[in-house]
Protein backbone atom coordinates (compact mmCIF):
# COMPACT_ATOMS: atom_id res chain seq x y z
CA UNK A 1 0.00 0.00 0.00
CA UNK A 2 2.94 2.27 0.55
CA UNK A 3 4.47 2.41 -2.93
CA UNK A 4 4.60 6.02 -4.08
CA UNK A 5 4.33 6.53 -7.81
CA UNK A 6 7.82 7.86 -8.72
CA UNK A 7 9.50 4.93 -7.00
CA UNK A 8 7.28 2.61 -8.95
CA UNK A 9 8.16 4.10 -12.29
CA UNK A 10 11.83 3.98 -11.49
CA UNK A 11 11.50 0.36 -10.49
CA UNK A 12 9.83 -0.59 -13.74
CA UNK A 13 12.32 1.37 -15.79
CA UNK A 14 15.19 -0.33 -14.02
CA UNK A 15 14.20 -3.87 -14.91
CA UNK A 16 15.36 -3.14 -18.46
CA UNK A 17 16.61 -5.82 -20.78
CA UNK A 18 17.04 -9.38 -19.56
CA UNK A 19 20.63 -10.24 -18.66
CA UNK A 20 22.64 -11.46 -21.60
CA UNK A 21 23.65 -15.02 -20.97
CA UNK A 22 24.87 -17.50 -23.52
CA UNK A 23 22.18 -20.14 -23.72
CA UNK A 24 23.12 -23.77 -24.12
CA UNK A 25 22.19 -24.92 -27.58
CA UNK A 26 18.91 -26.79 -28.18
CA UNK A 27 19.70 -30.43 -27.56
CA UNK A 28 22.22 -29.85 -24.77
CA UNK A 29 19.73 -27.68 -22.95
CA UNK A 30 16.96 -30.21 -23.36
CA UNK A 31 19.23 -33.00 -22.16
CA UNK A 32 19.95 -31.09 -19.00
CA UNK A 33 16.23 -31.15 -18.28
CA UNK A 34 15.16 -34.54 -19.60
CA UNK A 35 18.09 -36.63 -18.43
CA UNK A 36 17.78 -35.85 -14.71
CA UNK A 37 13.98 -35.73 -14.89
CA UNK A 38 13.91 -39.13 -16.59
CA UNK A 39 16.30 -40.60 -14.04
CA UNK A 40 14.26 -39.30 -11.12
CA UNK A 41 10.99 -40.61 -12.54
CA UNK A 42 12.52 -44.02 -13.28
CA UNK A 43 14.10 -44.24 -9.84
CA UNK A 44 10.91 -43.20 -8.06
CA UNK A 45 8.92 -45.68 -10.11
CA UNK A 46 11.43 -48.42 -9.31
CA UNK A 47 11.36 -47.64 -5.59
CA UNK A 48 7.57 -47.48 -5.28
CA UNK A 49 6.36 -49.89 -7.97
CA UNK A 50 9.05 -52.53 -8.44
CA UNK A 51 8.46 -54.24 -5.07
CA UNK A 52 4.74 -54.43 -5.96
CA UNK A 53 5.02 -56.04 -9.39
CA UNK A 54 8.24 -58.02 -9.17
CA UNK A 55 9.16 -60.30 -6.28
CA UNK A 56 12.18 -58.94 -4.37
CA UNK A 57 13.38 -60.29 -1.03
CA UNK A 58 12.07 -58.50 2.05
CA UNK A 59 14.26 -55.55 3.12
CA UNK A 60 14.34 -56.84 6.72
CA UNK A 61 14.53 -60.18 8.49
CA UNK A 62 17.17 -61.67 6.20
CA UNK A 63 18.72 -65.03 6.94
CA UNK A 64 22.08 -65.09 8.69
CA UNK A 65 23.01 -67.97 6.38
CA UNK A 66 23.19 -65.62 3.41
CA UNK A 67 24.89 -62.73 5.23
CA UNK A 68 27.72 -60.64 3.86
CA UNK A 69 27.43 -61.78 0.25
CA UNK A 70 29.39 -59.62 -2.22
CA UNK A 71 27.61 -57.72 -5.02
CA UNK A 72 26.55 -59.74 -8.10
CA UNK A 73 25.81 -62.84 -6.01
CA UNK A 74 23.11 -65.21 -7.26
CA UNK A 75 19.71 -63.76 -6.36
CA UNK A 76 21.25 -60.72 -4.65
CA UNK A 77 22.44 -58.35 -7.33
CA UNK A 78 23.91 -55.86 -4.81
CA UNK A 79 24.81 -58.59 -2.31
CA UNK A 80 23.62 -58.75 1.29
CA UNK A 81 24.48 -56.91 4.49
CA UNK A 82 26.03 -58.49 7.61
CA UNK A 83 22.65 -59.72 8.85
CA UNK A 84 21.65 -61.20 5.51
CA UNK A 85 19.23 -58.56 4.18
CA UNK A 86 19.16 -58.10 0.42
CA UNK A 87 20.80 -54.74 -0.40
CA UNK A 88 18.88 -54.19 -3.64
CA UNK A 89 15.60 -54.51 -1.76
CA UNK A 90 16.85 -52.18 0.97
CA UNK A 91 17.85 -49.63 -1.67
CA UNK A 92 14.34 -49.69 -3.15
CA UNK A 93 12.58 -49.44 0.20
CA UNK A 94 15.09 -46.90 1.50
CA UNK A 95 14.47 -44.88 -1.64
CA UNK A 96 10.78 -44.70 -0.75
CA UNK A 97 11.77 -43.14 2.56
CA UNK A 98 14.12 -40.67 0.88
CA UNK A 99 11.51 -39.55 -1.65
CA UNK A 100 8.75 -39.29 0.96
CA UNK A 101 10.91 -37.31 3.37
CA UNK A 102 12.36 -35.11 0.62
CA UNK A 103 9.02 -34.16 -0.88
CA UNK A 104 7.18 -34.03 2.46
CA UNK A 105 9.65 -31.61 4.03
CA UNK A 106 9.68 -29.46 0.90
CA UNK A 107 5.89 -29.40 0.66
CA UNK A 108 5.60 -28.22 4.27
CA UNK A 109 8.25 -25.56 3.67
CA UNK A 110 6.61 -24.46 0.44
CA UNK A 111 3.15 -24.05 1.95
CA UNK A 112 3.94 -22.61 5.40
CA UNK A 113 7.13 -20.75 4.53
CA UNK A 114 5.70 -19.57 1.21
CA UNK A 115 2.56 -18.14 2.83
CA UNK A 116 4.51 -16.45 5.63
CA UNK A 117 7.02 -15.00 3.17
CA UNK A 118 4.34 -13.69 0.81
CA UNK A 119 2.39 -12.14 3.67
CA UNK A 120 5.53 -10.46 5.01
CA UNK A 121 6.62 -9.27 1.60
CA UNK A 122 3.19 -8.06 0.48
CA UNK A 123 1.91 -6.27 3.56
CA UNK A 124 5.26 -5.15 4.96
CA UNK A 125 5.13 -3.11 8.16
CA UNK A 126 4.66 -4.81 11.52
CA UNK A 127 3.84 -8.24 10.09
CA UNK A 128 7.03 -8.13 8.05
CA UNK A 129 9.11 -7.00 11.02
CA UNK A 130 7.79 -9.80 13.25
CA UNK A 131 8.11 -12.51 10.61
CA UNK A 132 11.58 -11.37 9.62
CA UNK A 133 12.79 -11.30 13.22
CA UNK A 134 11.54 -14.86 13.67
CA UNK A 135 13.33 -15.88 10.47
CA UNK A 136 16.47 -14.09 11.70
CA UNK A 137 16.38 -16.22 14.82
CA UNK A 138 15.86 -19.30 12.68
CA UNK A 139 18.94 -18.34 10.65
CA UNK A 140 21.12 -17.74 13.70
CA UNK A 141 19.77 -20.91 15.28
CA UNK A 142 21.47 -24.07 14.21
CA UNK A 143 18.47 -25.88 12.77
CA UNK A 144 20.12 -29.27 13.13
CA UNK A 145 20.07 -28.84 16.91
CA UNK A 146 16.36 -28.21 16.77
CA UNK A 147 15.76 -31.07 14.36
CA UNK A 148 17.85 -33.40 16.51
CA UNK A 149 16.03 -32.36 19.65
CA UNK A 150 12.66 -32.90 18.02
CA UNK A 151 13.68 -36.24 16.53
CA UNK A 152 15.12 -37.30 19.87
CA UNK A 153 12.13 -36.07 21.87
CA UNK A 154 9.41 -37.48 19.65
CA UNK A 155 11.27 -40.69 19.02
CA UNK A 156 12.56 -41.91 15.70
CA UNK A 157 9.97 -42.41 12.98
CA UNK A 158 9.58 -41.26 9.41
CA UNK A 159 6.81 -38.77 10.20
CA UNK A 160 8.81 -37.23 13.04
CA UNK A 161 11.83 -36.89 10.77
CA UNK A 162 9.65 -34.92 8.35
CA UNK A 163 8.45 -32.58 11.12
CA UNK A 164 11.96 -32.15 12.47
CA UNK A 165 13.44 -31.30 9.07
CA UNK A 166 10.69 -28.77 8.38
CA UNK A 167 12.61 -26.47 10.72
CA UNK A 168 15.07 -26.13 7.86
CA UNK A 169 12.62 -25.75 5.02
CA UNK A 170 10.09 -23.28 6.45
CA UNK A 171 12.51 -20.37 7.10
CA UNK A 172 14.34 -20.97 3.82
CA UNK A 173 11.15 -20.86 1.76
CA UNK A 174 9.93 -17.90 3.81
CA UNK A 175 12.99 -15.88 2.85
CA UNK A 176 12.80 -16.77 -0.83
CA UNK A 177 9.07 -16.06 -1.05
CA UNK A 178 9.45 -12.73 0.76
CA UNK A 179 12.26 -11.60 -1.52
CA UNK A 180 10.35 -12.57 -4.66
CA UNK A 181 7.18 -10.86 -3.42
CA UNK A 182 9.01 -7.63 -2.59
CA UNK A 183 10.48 -7.63 -6.09
CA UNK A 184 6.93 -7.82 -7.45
CA UNK A 185 5.33 -5.34 -5.09
CA UNK A 186 6.14 -2.23 -7.05
CA UNK A 187 5.31 -3.58 -10.50
CA UNK A 188 2.63 -1.79 -12.50
CA UNK A 189 0.15 -4.65 -12.61
CA UNK A 190 0.31 -4.97 -8.85
CA UNK A 191 -0.47 -1.30 -8.45
CA UNK A 192 -3.30 -1.62 -10.97
CA UNK A 193 -4.76 -4.51 -9.01
CA UNK A 194 -4.55 -2.53 -5.77
CA UNK A 195 -5.97 0.65 -7.30
CA UNK A 196 -8.93 -1.25 -8.72
CA UNK A 197 -9.77 -2.32 -5.19
CA UNK A 198 -8.72 -5.94 -5.30
CA UNK A 199 -8.27 -7.30 -1.78
CA UNK A 200 -4.93 -8.57 -0.55
CA UNK A 201 -5.67 -12.30 -0.46
CA UNK A 202 -7.00 -12.15 -3.99
CA UNK A 203 -3.98 -10.20 -5.23
CA UNK A 204 -1.76 -12.82 -3.65
CA UNK A 205 -3.75 -15.64 -5.22
CA UNK A 206 -4.11 -14.17 -8.68
CA UNK A 207 -0.92 -12.14 -9.13
CA UNK A 208 1.73 -13.01 -6.58
CA UNK A 209 1.54 -16.80 -6.59
CA UNK A 210 1.60 -17.29 -10.39
CA UNK A 211 4.53 -14.90 -10.68
CA UNK A 212 6.75 -16.30 -7.96
CA UNK A 213 5.83 -19.94 -8.65
CA UNK A 214 8.74 -20.64 -11.07
CA UNK A 215 11.27 -19.33 -8.57
CA UNK A 216 9.75 -21.30 -5.70
CA UNK A 217 9.54 -24.48 -7.78
CA UNK A 218 13.18 -24.44 -8.82
CA UNK A 219 14.09 -23.72 -5.21
CA UNK A 220 11.90 -26.68 -4.19
CA UNK A 221 13.96 -29.06 -6.31
CA UNK A 222 17.10 -27.98 -4.48
CA UNK A 223 15.17 -28.26 -1.21
CA UNK A 224 14.20 -31.88 -1.88
CA UNK A 225 17.86 -32.76 -2.35
CA UNK A 226 18.87 -30.99 0.87
CA UNK A 227 16.10 -32.74 2.80
CA UNK A 228 17.23 -36.13 1.49
CA UNK A 229 20.78 -35.41 2.66
CA UNK A 230 19.54 -34.24 6.06
CA UNK A 231 17.37 -37.33 6.48
CA UNK A 232 20.56 -39.30 6.03
CA UNK A 233 22.29 -37.07 8.59
CA UNK A 234 19.62 -37.80 11.20
CA UNK A 235 19.80 -41.52 10.43
CA UNK A 236 23.55 -41.23 10.72
CA UNK A 237 23.18 -39.97 14.27
CA UNK A 238 20.76 -42.75 15.09
CA UNK A 239 17.80 -40.39 15.26
CA UNK A 240 16.29 -40.97 11.83
CA UNK A 241 14.36 -43.91 10.53
CA UNK A 242 14.61 -46.67 13.19
CA UNK A 243 16.42 -49.91 12.35
CA UNK A 244 15.80 -52.44 10.90
CA UNK A 245 13.69 -50.39 8.48
CA UNK A 246 15.97 -49.24 5.66
CA UNK A 247 16.81 -45.71 4.61
CA UNK A 248 19.76 -44.68 2.45
CA UNK A 249 21.22 -42.67 5.31
CA UNK A 250 20.99 -45.48 7.85
CA UNK A 251 22.48 -47.93 5.35
CA UNK A 252 25.47 -45.60 4.90
CA UNK A 253 25.82 -45.12 8.64
CA UNK A 254 25.55 -48.86 9.25
CA UNK A 255 28.14 -49.61 6.56
CA UNK A 256 30.60 -47.19 8.18
CA UNK A 257 31.60 -49.84 10.75
CA UNK A 258 32.81 -52.28 8.11
CA UNK A 259 34.12 -49.79 5.56
CA UNK A 260 37.62 -51.28 5.27
CA UNK A 261 36.34 -54.86 4.78
CA UNK A 262 33.30 -54.27 2.55
CA UNK A 263 33.15 -50.68 1.24
CA UNK A 264 30.23 -51.56 -1.07
CA UNK A 265 27.89 -51.36 1.93
CA UNK A 266 28.68 -47.64 2.05
CA UNK A 267 29.29 -47.04 -1.64
CA UNK A 268 26.02 -48.47 -3.04
CA UNK A 269 23.56 -46.37 -1.00
CA UNK A 270 25.94 -43.38 -1.29
CA UNK A 271 25.86 -43.68 -5.07
CA UNK A 272 22.05 -43.69 -5.10
CA UNK A 273 21.83 -40.72 -2.74
CA UNK A 274 24.40 -38.79 -4.77
CA UNK A 275 22.82 -39.57 -8.14
CA UNK A 276 19.38 -38.55 -6.88
CA UNK A 277 20.50 -35.26 -5.33
CA UNK A 278 22.68 -34.50 -8.35
CA UNK A 279 19.70 -35.01 -10.68
CA UNK A 280 17.55 -32.71 -8.56
CA UNK A 281 20.25 -30.02 -8.60
CA UNK A 282 20.94 -30.25 -12.33
CA UNK A 283 17.21 -30.18 -13.09
CA UNK A 284 16.68 -27.20 -10.78
CA UNK A 285 19.56 -25.35 -12.41
CA UNK A 286 18.38 -26.05 -15.94
CA UNK A 287 14.82 -24.95 -15.17
CA UNK A 288 16.01 -21.79 -13.46
CA UNK A 289 18.04 -20.86 -16.52
CA UNK A 290 15.05 -21.50 -18.76
CA UNK A 291 12.79 -19.37 -16.59
CA UNK A 292 15.42 -16.72 -15.99
CA UNK A 293 13.57 -13.99 -17.88
CA UNK A 294 12.30 -11.22 -15.57
CA UNK A 295 9.20 -12.17 -13.69
CA UNK A 296 5.95 -11.39 -15.46
CA UNK A 297 7.50 -10.51 -18.82
CA UNK A 298 6.63 -12.44 -21.95
CA UNK A 299 6.41 -15.82 -20.39
Amino acid sequence: MSAPLPELLAADGATGAPPVRPRARGLARDLRIWLPAGFLVLLAAACFLWPLVYPVPKPTGGSILSSGLPPLSRGHIFGTDPVGNDIFSRILHGGQVSFEVGFGVTAIGLVIGGLLGMAAGYWGGAADAVIMRVLDIAIAFPALVLALAVAEGLGPSELHVIWALSFFSVPAFGRVARGATIALRDRTFMLAARLSGTRGPRVIRRHVIPNIAPQLLTFSLLGVGVAMILEGALSFLGLGIPLPEPSWGSMIAYGQQTISASPDLVLIPSAFLFATVLSLNVLGDALRERWANPIGQSR
Binding site: L144, V145, V266, V277
Partner: protein, 326 residues
Protein backbone atom coordinates in the same frame (compact mmCIF):
# COMPACT_ATOMS: atom_id res chain seq x y z
CA UNK B 1 38.89 9.34 7.96
CA UNK B 2 37.95 9.99 11.58
CA UNK B 3 34.41 10.57 10.36
CA UNK B 4 34.46 7.21 8.63
CA UNK B 5 35.65 5.48 11.78
CA UNK B 6 33.00 7.19 13.87
CA UNK B 7 30.41 6.15 11.30
CA UNK B 8 31.57 2.57 11.33
CA UNK B 9 31.53 2.57 15.10
CA UNK B 10 27.98 3.86 15.19
CA UNK B 11 26.96 1.23 12.68
CA UNK B 12 28.65 -1.52 14.70
CA UNK B 13 26.88 -0.32 17.82
CA UNK B 14 23.47 -0.37 16.14
CA UNK B 15 24.14 -3.82 14.72
CA UNK B 16 25.13 -5.18 18.11
CA UNK B 17 21.99 -3.73 19.70
CA UNK B 18 19.84 -5.31 16.99
CA UNK B 19 21.57 -8.63 17.64
CA UNK B 20 20.50 -8.76 21.28
CA UNK B 21 16.87 -9.82 20.64
CA UNK B 22 18.07 -12.38 18.11
CA UNK B 23 20.55 -13.85 20.58
CA UNK B 24 17.93 -13.87 23.30
CA UNK B 25 15.48 -15.59 20.96
CA UNK B 26 18.02 -18.26 20.14
CA UNK B 27 18.70 -19.11 23.78
CA UNK B 28 15.02 -19.03 24.64
CA UNK B 29 14.03 -21.22 21.72
CA UNK B 30 16.69 -23.75 22.67
CA UNK B 31 15.48 -23.79 26.26
CA UNK B 32 11.84 -24.21 25.22
CA UNK B 33 12.61 -27.00 22.78
CA UNK B 34 14.87 -28.85 25.19
CA UNK B 35 12.35 -28.60 28.03
CA UNK B 36 9.04 -29.15 26.31
CA UNK B 37 10.11 -32.35 24.67
CA UNK B 38 9.25 -35.63 26.35
CA UNK B 39 11.90 -37.47 28.31
CA UNK B 40 13.75 -36.09 31.31
CA UNK B 41 17.37 -35.63 32.18
CA UNK B 42 17.32 -37.31 35.58
CA UNK B 43 15.80 -40.51 34.23
CA UNK B 44 18.15 -40.39 31.27
CA UNK B 45 21.18 -40.02 33.53
CA UNK B 46 20.24 -42.76 35.98
CA UNK B 47 19.13 -45.25 33.37
CA UNK B 48 15.89 -47.16 33.03
CA UNK B 49 16.39 -49.16 36.25
CA UNK B 50 16.34 -46.18 38.60
CA UNK B 51 13.54 -46.04 41.17
CA UNK B 52 11.20 -43.03 41.12
CA UNK B 53 12.65 -41.97 44.49
CA UNK B 54 16.17 -41.86 43.09
CA UNK B 55 15.00 -39.93 40.07
CA UNK B 56 13.18 -37.45 42.31
CA UNK B 57 16.25 -36.98 44.48
CA UNK B 58 18.45 -36.23 41.49
CA UNK B 59 15.86 -33.82 40.13
CA UNK B 60 15.97 -31.86 43.37
CA UNK B 61 19.75 -31.87 43.32
CA UNK B 62 19.84 -30.54 39.74
CA UNK B 63 16.95 -28.09 40.36
CA UNK B 64 14.96 -29.86 37.66
CA UNK B 65 11.85 -29.80 39.86
CA UNK B 66 11.65 -26.01 39.63
CA UNK B 67 9.30 -24.43 37.11
CA UNK B 68 10.52 -23.67 33.62
CA UNK B 69 10.66 -19.88 34.05
CA UNK B 70 12.70 -20.10 37.24
CA UNK B 71 15.26 -22.34 35.58
CA UNK B 72 15.50 -20.16 32.49
CA UNK B 73 15.81 -17.00 34.58
CA UNK B 74 18.50 -18.62 36.67
CA UNK B 75 20.42 -19.64 33.56
CA UNK B 76 20.02 -16.22 31.93
CA UNK B 77 21.15 -14.50 35.14
CA UNK B 78 24.24 -16.66 35.18
CA UNK B 79 24.93 -15.80 31.55
CA UNK B 80 25.20 -12.10 32.42
CA UNK B 81 27.95 -13.00 34.89
CA UNK B 82 29.67 -15.09 32.25
CA UNK B 83 28.59 -18.28 34.00
CA UNK B 84 27.16 -20.89 31.63
CA UNK B 85 26.21 -23.28 34.44
CA UNK B 86 27.24 -26.87 35.01
CA UNK B 87 26.68 -29.93 32.89
CA UNK B 88 23.86 -32.05 34.26
CA UNK B 89 25.63 -35.23 33.21
CA UNK B 90 29.19 -34.68 34.40
CA UNK B 91 28.76 -31.76 36.80
CA UNK B 92 31.65 -30.06 34.99
CA UNK B 93 31.44 -26.34 34.41
CA UNK B 94 30.15 -25.71 30.88
CA UNK B 95 32.74 -22.99 30.26
CA UNK B 96 35.46 -25.48 31.15
CA UNK B 97 33.98 -28.08 28.79
CA UNK B 98 33.82 -25.52 26.00
CA UNK B 99 37.33 -24.26 26.75
CA UNK B 100 38.58 -27.79 26.30
CA UNK B 101 36.66 -28.66 23.15
CA UNK B 102 36.11 -25.41 21.26
CA UNK B 103 39.74 -25.01 20.13
CA UNK B 104 39.52 -28.32 18.23
CA UNK B 105 36.32 -27.30 16.49
CA UNK B 106 37.57 -23.78 15.84
CA UNK B 107 40.76 -25.06 14.25
CA UNK B 108 38.82 -27.54 12.12
CA UNK B 109 36.40 -24.87 10.90
CA UNK B 110 39.18 -22.35 10.29
CA UNK B 111 41.09 -24.93 8.26
CA UNK B 112 37.97 -25.78 6.23
CA UNK B 113 37.05 -22.13 5.68
CA UNK B 114 40.48 -20.83 4.73
CA UNK B 115 41.13 -23.73 2.35
CA UNK B 116 37.71 -23.56 0.72
CA UNK B 117 37.75 -19.77 0.29
CA UNK B 118 41.29 -19.68 -1.15
CA UNK B 119 40.59 -22.53 -3.57
CA UNK B 120 37.22 -21.06 -4.52
CA UNK B 121 38.67 -17.63 -5.28
CA UNK B 122 41.44 -19.19 -7.36
CA UNK B 123 39.17 -21.46 -9.37
CA UNK B 124 36.47 -18.82 -9.82
CA UNK B 125 38.97 -16.31 -11.20
CA UNK B 126 40.38 -18.89 -13.62
CA UNK B 127 36.86 -19.93 -14.65
CA UNK B 128 35.59 -16.39 -15.15
CA UNK B 129 38.62 -15.47 -17.25
CA UNK B 130 37.25 -17.54 -20.09
CA UNK B 131 33.58 -18.58 -19.71
CA UNK B 132 32.97 -22.07 -21.12
CA UNK B 133 36.72 -22.72 -21.22
CA UNK B 134 38.32 -25.77 -19.59
CA UNK B 135 38.71 -24.14 -16.16
CA UNK B 136 35.09 -23.00 -16.29
CA UNK B 137 33.86 -26.50 -17.10
CA UNK B 138 35.99 -27.93 -14.31
CA UNK B 139 34.54 -25.39 -11.89
CA UNK B 140 30.99 -26.28 -12.92
CA UNK B 141 31.52 -30.02 -12.52
CA UNK B 142 33.34 -29.55 -9.20
CA UNK B 143 30.69 -27.26 -7.79
CA UNK B 144 27.79 -29.47 -8.92
CA UNK B 145 29.49 -32.46 -7.30
CA UNK B 146 30.09 -30.59 -4.07
CA UNK B 147 26.51 -29.33 -3.95
CA UNK B 148 25.11 -32.82 -4.41
CA UNK B 149 27.30 -34.89 -2.12
CA UNK B 150 26.36 -35.35 1.51
CA UNK B 151 29.25 -34.35 3.83
CA UNK B 152 29.08 -37.67 5.66
CA UNK B 153 29.27 -39.59 2.36
CA UNK B 154 32.25 -37.48 1.34
CA UNK B 155 33.88 -38.12 4.73
CA UNK B 156 33.49 -41.89 4.41
CA UNK B 157 34.75 -41.95 0.83
CA UNK B 158 37.77 -39.82 1.81
CA UNK B 159 38.45 -42.19 4.72
CA UNK B 160 38.22 -45.19 2.43
CA UNK B 161 40.52 -43.78 -0.24
CA UNK B 162 43.08 -41.76 1.73
CA UNK B 163 43.14 -43.60 5.04
CA UNK B 164 42.19 -47.23 4.36
CA UNK B 165 43.63 -47.63 0.87
CA UNK B 166 46.49 -45.16 0.58
CA UNK B 167 47.21 -44.61 4.27
CA UNK B 168 48.19 -40.97 3.71
CA UNK B 169 46.08 -39.61 6.54
CA UNK B 170 44.87 -41.12 9.82
CA UNK B 171 41.26 -42.37 9.70
CA UNK B 172 40.46 -41.23 13.22
CA UNK B 173 41.99 -39.38 16.11
CA UNK B 174 43.34 -35.96 16.93
CA UNK B 175 46.82 -34.69 17.69
CA UNK B 176 47.07 -31.38 19.53
CA UNK B 177 48.71 -28.49 17.75
CA UNK B 178 51.15 -27.94 20.61
CA UNK B 179 52.14 -31.60 20.53
CA UNK B 180 53.03 -31.92 16.86
CA UNK B 181 51.92 -29.29 14.32
CA UNK B 182 52.45 -31.54 11.28
CA UNK B 183 50.51 -34.46 12.71
CA UNK B 184 47.87 -32.00 13.90
CA UNK B 185 47.27 -30.76 10.35
CA UNK B 186 47.27 -34.30 9.02
CA UNK B 187 44.68 -35.40 11.55
CA UNK B 188 42.42 -32.50 10.57
CA UNK B 189 42.85 -32.64 6.79
CA UNK B 190 40.21 -35.25 5.95
CA UNK B 191 37.50 -33.81 8.22
CA UNK B 192 38.29 -30.30 6.98
CA UNK B 193 37.98 -31.54 3.40
CA UNK B 194 34.62 -33.17 4.16
CA UNK B 195 33.30 -29.91 5.64
CA UNK B 196 35.12 -27.62 3.23
CA UNK B 197 34.40 -29.18 -0.16
CA UNK B 198 30.65 -28.43 -0.16
CA UNK B 199 31.48 -24.86 0.97
CA UNK B 200 34.10 -24.56 -1.76
CA UNK B 201 31.49 -25.59 -4.36
CA UNK B 202 28.94 -23.01 -3.28
CA UNK B 203 31.56 -20.25 -3.06
CA UNK B 204 33.06 -21.06 -6.47
CA UNK B 205 29.65 -21.03 -8.13
CA UNK B 206 28.60 -17.76 -6.59
CA UNK B 207 31.90 -15.94 -7.13
CA UNK B 208 32.29 -17.14 -10.72
CA UNK B 209 28.80 -15.90 -11.60
CA UNK B 210 29.45 -12.53 -9.91
CA UNK B 211 32.80 -11.99 -11.65
CA UNK B 212 31.35 -12.92 -15.06
CA UNK B 213 28.52 -10.48 -14.51
CA UNK B 214 30.93 -7.70 -13.53
CA UNK B 215 33.07 -8.35 -16.60
CA UNK B 216 30.10 -8.37 -18.95
CA UNK B 217 27.96 -5.57 -17.65
CA UNK B 218 30.01 -2.89 -15.94
CA UNK B 219 31.20 0.31 -17.56
CA UNK B 220 34.37 0.60 -15.48
CA UNK B 221 35.57 -2.67 -17.05
CA UNK B 222 35.04 -1.21 -20.51
CA UNK B 223 36.93 1.92 -19.45
CA UNK B 224 39.80 -0.13 -18.03
CA UNK B 225 40.01 -2.21 -21.19
CA UNK B 226 39.87 0.90 -23.38
CA UNK B 227 42.78 2.52 -21.61
CA UNK B 228 44.81 -0.66 -22.01
CA UNK B 229 44.91 -2.17 -18.53
CA UNK B 230 46.25 -5.73 -18.68
CA UNK B 231 43.50 -8.39 -18.63
CA UNK B 232 44.86 -10.03 -15.46
CA UNK B 233 44.92 -6.70 -13.69
CA UNK B 234 41.33 -6.00 -14.73
CA UNK B 235 40.32 -9.38 -13.40
CA UNK B 236 42.18 -9.22 -10.09
CA UNK B 237 42.15 -5.52 -9.24
CA UNK B 238 38.84 -4.39 -10.75
CA UNK B 239 36.37 -7.24 -11.19
CA UNK B 240 37.34 -9.44 -8.22
CA UNK B 241 37.02 -6.87 -5.39
CA UNK B 242 33.66 -5.78 -6.77
CA UNK B 243 32.48 -9.39 -6.90
CA UNK B 244 33.32 -10.27 -3.30
CA UNK B 245 30.15 -8.89 -1.68
CA UNK B 246 28.03 -11.96 -2.34
CA UNK B 247 30.78 -14.26 -1.12
CA UNK B 248 31.24 -12.32 2.12
CA UNK B 249 27.51 -12.36 2.83
CA UNK B 250 27.33 -16.08 2.20
CA UNK B 251 30.36 -16.93 4.34
CA UNK B 252 28.88 -14.98 7.24
CA UNK B 253 25.53 -16.78 6.89
CA UNK B 254 27.19 -20.18 6.49
CA UNK B 255 28.97 -20.06 9.83
CA UNK B 256 25.79 -20.70 11.77
CA UNK B 257 24.75 -23.73 9.81
CA UNK B 258 28.15 -25.33 10.28
CA UNK B 259 27.40 -26.52 13.79
CA UNK B 260 25.33 -29.20 12.08
CA UNK B 261 28.18 -30.29 9.84
CA UNK B 262 30.55 -30.32 12.81
CA UNK B 263 28.12 -32.47 14.81
CA UNK B 264 28.12 -35.12 12.09
CA UNK B 265 31.72 -35.00 10.86
CA UNK B 266 33.58 -34.81 14.19
CA UNK B 267 32.25 -38.13 15.52
CA UNK B 268 33.14 -39.91 12.25
CA UNK B 269 36.79 -38.95 12.83
CA UNK B 270 36.63 -39.23 16.65
CA UNK B 271 37.65 -35.60 17.04
CA UNK B 272 37.27 -34.27 20.61
CA UNK B 273 35.44 -31.08 19.54
CA UNK B 274 32.01 -29.72 20.47
CA UNK B 275 30.21 -31.75 17.81
CA UNK B 276 30.26 -35.11 19.55
CA UNK B 277 29.32 -33.64 22.91
CA UNK B 278 26.47 -31.67 21.34
CA UNK B 279 24.79 -34.83 20.05
CA UNK B 280 25.39 -36.60 23.34
CA UNK B 281 24.00 -33.67 25.33
CA UNK B 282 20.86 -33.45 23.22
CA UNK B 283 20.27 -37.17 23.77
CA UNK B 284 20.89 -36.78 27.52
CA UNK B 285 18.73 -33.64 27.81
CA UNK B 286 21.81 -31.92 29.19
CA UNK B 287 20.37 -28.44 28.66
CA UNK B 288 23.25 -26.27 29.95
CA UNK B 289 25.79 -27.85 27.60
CA UNK B 290 23.47 -27.56 24.59
CA UNK B 291 22.73 -23.93 25.52
CA UNK B 292 26.43 -23.16 25.88
CA UNK B 293 27.26 -24.49 22.44
CA UNK B 294 24.27 -22.79 20.82
CA UNK B 295 25.16 -19.45 22.43
CA UNK B 296 28.76 -19.64 21.25
CA UNK B 297 27.70 -20.36 17.66
CA UNK B 298 25.00 -17.67 17.70
CA UNK B 299 27.53 -15.09 18.94
CA UNK B 300 29.94 -16.18 16.22
CA UNK B 301 27.21 -15.70 13.60
CA UNK B 302 26.38 -12.22 14.89
CA UNK B 303 30.05 -11.22 14.96
CA UNK B 304 30.60 -12.68 11.48
CA UNK B 305 27.74 -10.61 10.09
CA UNK B 306 29.16 -7.54 11.75
CA UNK B 307 32.56 -8.26 10.24
CA UNK B 308 30.88 -8.70 6.85
CA UNK B 309 29.42 -5.20 7.16
CA UNK B 310 32.84 -3.78 7.97
CA UNK B 311 34.35 -5.59 4.99
CA UNK B 312 31.70 -4.14 2.68
CA UNK B 313 32.83 -0.69 3.76
CA UNK B 314 36.49 -1.59 3.25
CA UNK B 315 35.78 -2.84 -0.27
CA UNK B 316 33.41 -0.11 -1.34
CA UNK B 317 34.29 3.53 -0.67
CA UNK B 318 30.71 4.54 -1.49
CA UNK B 319 29.41 2.69 1.55
CA UNK B 320 32.14 4.26 3.66
CA UNK B 321 31.34 7.84 2.64
CA UNK B 322 27.59 7.44 2.69
CA UNK B 323 27.63 6.18 6.24
CA UNK B 324 30.07 8.75 7.53
CA UNK B 325 28.03 11.51 5.91
CA UNK B 326 24.75 10.48 7.50
Amino acid sequence: MTLAIAGARGLAGRRLLAAIPVLWGVTFLTFVVMNLLPGDAAQELLGANATPAEVHQLEIKLHLNQPFWVRYGHWLGGLFHGDLGNSLASGQNVSAVLGQRLPVTAELLLYAFVASILLAVGLAVLAARRPNGPADRLSMVASMTGLSIAPYVLALILVYIFAVRLGWFPAIGYVALTQNPGANLRSLTLPAAAIGFPLFSVYTRLLRADIVEQLQREDYIVTARAKGVAPWRILLRHALPNSLFGLITLVALNLGTLVGAVAIIEPIFSLPGVGAILIQSITNHDVPVVEGIVVVFAVVVVLANLLADVLYAVLDPRIRYERSAS
